[in-house]
């Protein structure tokens, strides 16, 4: 390890310990939601079939010939939901998220294709499927926004402007804008003129426009939920809305049980303890199961309430692809001012994200994109203007990277355009501008950690043999041109960072809590609301707790995320689970040991002798592995005793504590956005065939500094998985909207990478431990999504000598770019 801060050999962290959950996965024994024993009704969703309008009625078409007898169905519409919550006055039909504008079921106006209008339940899933198509949704059309890049006409305004009422003649700048963020630094803080002057006096000004598509998370397990209600005997029949306290229990595929819990208590107007949310084993999430599961859970619960039966809703792939969230499409203009040597003097950026029909998570996606836009570079004058705007498509939402991949793509692509304009090597241009310790990011956050980005970058460049490849490919391409071969090769690089945890004061507001509980085997159970979705949280939490206590891993278990039994440790998003929640696990272990010592279950006699204690056994600046100060046999005995003692302290708790340092100013958009960042350099080598315009990735190296690597095998797998998702985004994946309809809502036409499409991804780790992560760990979940697309497109542009600014860089797009470049060359010659 580069920093000499090595772990002793008996540590479980830092090693590729196998997953406790692996066995049930390789045998097929693990029961995902659709695999669980079930008896009850199946639920399905009737959806709108046009982009915007008003629902005027529902017609249940006769389906006797198909076995559909409407008398056998339960139907729920928005009319079943009261308009005002008794709890807070807000319409319960609006999903409790940031803005509360998205309905569970359309009451009147609808804003996208596939918006839920009615719910059906029936005992037979096949008859149910046929019935959905027999419900005719009668509508009146309203003017829809079908291209987010075009300013709305008055009739299209649906958000944030008085002209929504149809009175104003022209919409204002805020019309249909969900959220607006400006990051500024240096002259951009002073005045428009001062900022303009930097550009006017610069040796070079380079401008470019970049676009990215809606990307589907395409977890292989589609969404699903099962809801059941516990009812009083005298309440078996009757109105949908209970008068007596009920209990609603919902289990399903999800990332964030407490998000679902908050949504359902609001929808059903029930107190917290009357709603129980349980995460079933989840077959991938990637952000796609962050907010939408609340809606499916709500739908299942409504049907369960109406029928007093257990109801299961499982989406098929088409419904999942057509109706649920995707990555925000983006349009970004970048303008760079440089001096003659390639020093970046100023950056002016305009970022527009397509939020889709409702606010949902767009403001926070926009925020992360804004903060990451200018990357790990030291630039004196910066202005990044960011907007998330409405369009009449299903809402775009969370997807690994959360806004950062879009802005990183534009910026890193633009640096190569600048290098090209100045006749510089793209790496040389980056070297001139990389941030050093003590310098400030665009958000004016000073980097005080010891960083060595240039040295880390060089490791990745050496691994892919960047210099060698630049020269070899130049020769290869010259030969190809001379001999008439259609093949061209190129190598490209992207340098970027990713902040882990919630932005700014987000973690303070979350105030996450973790509990660990002594169990009768002399070990502990870890109780968090964070979900295992493939990333390995069960394994990593187990490693952390085992090392914090000095106990073997098999004495540590992880509780099922169930809101009746685990505290709210926050959502499983934002690369926060290992770094933030894992740290809380270690601190909760400390707390448990401290309580056992305080109540006399552990005594000084149980301590290890000083020479048995290892040095460097602190977990972090806030946690010192208290359990390791005791002899393991004594600690186990104490835990056994604590578990059996009803009055004793059997639980340890930890609540999030902000690391020392500056604060974040949400108004000025300046300050400590993230306690720490992971830093990365990704390199791609590609071959483009100028006959088919297909791109093949020859080589890919992903180098990153991520603090402590807690489990090398898991970390490597997570990086490789993210890189390949991003390769799909770069080259293949595109959601095609026509009149607001997803035209390719299936895996035949929405194409994700297969084994045959991608090379082996080489992963390099550098470790510069972070004082406030467990054993120095930083978050890594989202990082690998940011760099591959720009690295690959930079490589393509290097190979063919034409800038490729829109992804996915499909053969059609590359061909058009090449033909356009040829035409403009002819025009000028």
């Amino acid at each position: 390890m580069p920093d000499g801060n090595a772990l002793s050999p008996d540590h479980r962290v830092g090693r590729s310990v196998p997953r406790p959950d692996a066995r049930s996965k390789v045998t097929g024994e693990l029961r995902y939601i659709d695999d669980q024993p079930f008896s009850g009704l199946y639920g399905a969703t009737v959806r709108t079939r046009s982009a915007r309008g008003r629902v005027t009625g529902l017609r249940f078409v006769d389906g006797t010939d198909q076995g559909v007898d409407w008398r056998e169905f339960a139907v729920v519409t928005a009319n079943d939901i009261p308009r005002h919550s008794k709890l807070d006055g807000v319409d319960p039909n609006l999903v409790a998220l940031i803005a509360r504008d998205q309905p569970y079921l359309v009451r009147d106006e609808f804003r996208h294709v596939g918006e839920p209008v009615a719910l059906l339940a029936h005992p037979d899933p096949e008859i149910l499927r046929r019935a959905v198509d027999l419900v005719e949704v009668q509508t009146e059309p309203l003017p829809a926004v079908l291209d987010y890049r075009v300013p709305p006409t008055p009739g299209q305004v649906q958000h944030g402007d008085d002209s929504a009422s149809g009175t104003a003649s022209a919409p204002s700048d805020d019309a249909n804008v969900f959220s607006r963020i400006v990051v500024s630094k240096g002259a951009a803080d002073e005045s428009r003129d001062a900022f303009r002057a930097v550009f006017e006096s610069a040796a070079h000004v380079v401008e470019g426009v970049y676009e990215t598509p809606a990307q589907e998370q395409c977890y292989i397990e589609p969404n699903g939920m099962i809801a059941r209600v516990e009812v009083h005997d005298d309440d078996r029949e009757g109105a949908l809305w209970p008068t007596n306290p009920w209990k609603v229990v919902i289990e399903g595929s999800m990332q964030c049980p407490y998000y679902v819990h908050k949504a359902i208590t609001h929808l059903l107007q029930l107190p917290d303890d009357k709603v129980q949310i349980i995460q079933a084993p989840t077959g991938g999430g990637f952000g796609g199961k962050e907010d939408y599961p609340s809606i499916i859970a709500g739908h299942a619960a409504l049907l369960a309430l109406k029928t007093r039966q257990t109801v299961k809703i499982i989406y098929d792939r088409v419904e999942d692809l057509a109706a649920t969230t995707k990555r925000h499409p983006s349009h970004t203009r970048v303008c760079a001012a440089l001096d003659a040597d390639g020093k970046l003097l100023a950056i002016d950026m305009d970022v527009t994200l397509d939020g889709g029909a409702y606010v949902t998570l767009s403001p926070v996606v926009l925020s992360r994109g804004a903060i990451h836009a200018v990357g790990p570079y030291n630039i004196d004058h910066v202005r990044v203007h960011n907007r998330a705007v409405l369009s009449n498509t299903p809402p775009h939402g969370a997807f690994r990277g959360f806004g950062a991949p879009q802005t990183v793509f534009a910026f890193e692509r633009h640096l190569d355009r600048c290098a090209d304009a100045l006749g510089l090597d793209p790496v040389a241009l980056r070297r001139r501008n990389l941030i050093q310790r003590g310098e400030t990011l665009a958000i004016s956050q000073r980097i005080d950690e010891p960083i060595a980005i240039e040295a880390w970058m060089d490791e990745a460049l050496t691994d892919i043999d960047y210099t060698g490849k630049r020269a070899a490919y130049a020769a290869f391409n010259a030969d190809a041109q001379a001999s008439g071969s259609p093949l061209r090769r190129g190598v490209g690089v992207a340098v970027f960072m990713h902040g882990a945890g919630f932005t700014g004061s987000g973690e303070d507001y979350l105030a996450s809590e973790v509990m660990v509980r002594a169990h009768a085997r002399g070990g502990i159970e870890i109780c968090t609301a964070n979900t295992e979705i493939g990333q390995g949280s069960i394994t990593v939490f187990t490693q952390i707790a085992a090392d914090a206590l000095g106990l073997p891993m098999d004495l540590v278990s992880v509780a099922k995320p169930d809101t009746d039994h685990v505290p709210n440790s926050g959502p499983t998003v934002a690369s926060r689970t290992s770094m933030v929640v894992g740290h809380l696990v270690a601190r909760a272990c400390d707390d448990l040991v401290a309580r056992l010592a305080a109540n006399g279950t552990l005594t000084d006699d149980d301590r290890r002798s000083a020479d048995e204690l290892e040095t460097a056994d602190r977990v972090s600046a806030l946690s010192d592995a208290k359990g390791k100060q005791y002899r393991p046999d004594r600690l186990q005995a104490a835990l056994r005793c604590a578990a059996s003692d009803e009055a004793g302290a059997t639980e340890g708790w930890a609540t999030y504590q902000r690391p020392p340092g500056g604060a974040w100013d949400d108004k000025a958009y300046k300050g400590i956005a993230y306690g720490t960042y992971a830093w990365a350099t990704y390199c791609a080598a590609v071959e483009v065939d100028l006959t088919t315009f297909e791109t093949r990735i020859l080589d890919f190296v992903a180098g990153q500094e991520i603090g402590r690597v807690l489990n090398p095998l898991l970390a490597e797998g997570q990086i490789q998985g993210g890189v390949v998702q991003a390769m799909g985004w770069a080259l293949l994946e595109d959601t095609i909207y026509v009149d607001g309809h997803v035209k390719n809502p299936n895996m035949t036409n929405y194409v994700v990478p297969t084994f045959a499409d991608v090379p082996d991804v080489k992963v390099l780790f550098q470790e510069s431990p972070y004082a406030y992560g467990p054993w120095g760990a930083k978050g890594i979940g989202e990082l690998p999504m940011d760099g591959p697309a720009p690295a690959i497109c930079n490589a393509i542009s290097h190979a063919i000598g034409v800038q490729v600014d829109t992804i996915p860089a499909t053969p059609e797009r590359v061909m058009r770019a090449v033909l356009a470049a040829e035409r403009s060359q002819e025009a000028t010659s």
């Binding site: 390890m1 390789v26 045998t27 076995g67 292989i220 095998l713 993210g722 084994f755 390099l764 780790f765």
Partner: protein, 184 residues
């Protein structure tokens, strides 16, 4: 064992038929509507939910099973076509007390993350092993199985480790070996 179709009340033009096949080594006799998907019959009627549905249209391979030794997408197969065949699902791969070498290798080399693609992967990989294919064939032969989590490298490593190992003795990569190159 005879298992009858769960939804006999279903009004359907096609009456149920008898279908016989060998499933995970045991004979099966079912009375089912002939065009139901094998996938649904396995998961619902036969209580073998290890075989997954990812797409329902032959693209993802999550539903891979072996029919007469060949890997097939069970979502595309009407159950009537299975008459007289031998079917192996993920539940039938392991022996009584030992996992299949492919399953062992997936556990050891990080081949499963969320695990939803894993049954289909191990079934197809077990077929590769039966065919005595070499590691160079992995990316081509597994291209019909999609994984959204791993980026494939760890699966390639898992399958490569399992190919060519004798039954019951999976390769032995020591726990703690760090393929990420981060061990000092």
């Amino acid at each position: 064992m005879t298992v009858s179709h769960a939804h006999t009340h279903l009004a359907d033009a096609v009456p149920s038929q008898e279908v016989r096949f060998t499933l995970n080594g045991a004979p099966q006799k079912l009375s089912v509507r002939p065009f139901r998907r094998l996938l649904d019959v396995l998961r619902t009627d036969l209580d073998l939910p290890g075989t997954k549905e990812g797409c329902g249209e032959g693209e993802c391979g999550a539903c891979s099973v072996l029919i007469d030794g060949e890997p097939i997408n069970a979502c595309l197969v009407p159950v009537i076509q299975c008459e007289g065949t031998t079917i192996v699902t993920v539940e039938g791969l392991a022996g009584h007390d030992a996992l299949h070498p492919v399953q062992q290798a997936f556990m050891q080399h990080g081949g499963a993350q969320c695990g939803i693609c894993t049954p289909g992967m191990v079934v197809t990989a077990a077929w590769m092993r039966d065919q005595k294919l070499g590691p160079e064939a992995i990316r081509e032969k597994l291209a019909g199985n999609i994984c959204r989590c791993t980026g494939y490298s760890a699966i390639v490593n898992s399958v490569a480790a399992a190919l060519g190992t004798p039954d019951g003795t999976p390769d032995s990569t020591p726990d703690g070996a760090a393929p990420g190159g981060s061990d000092a």
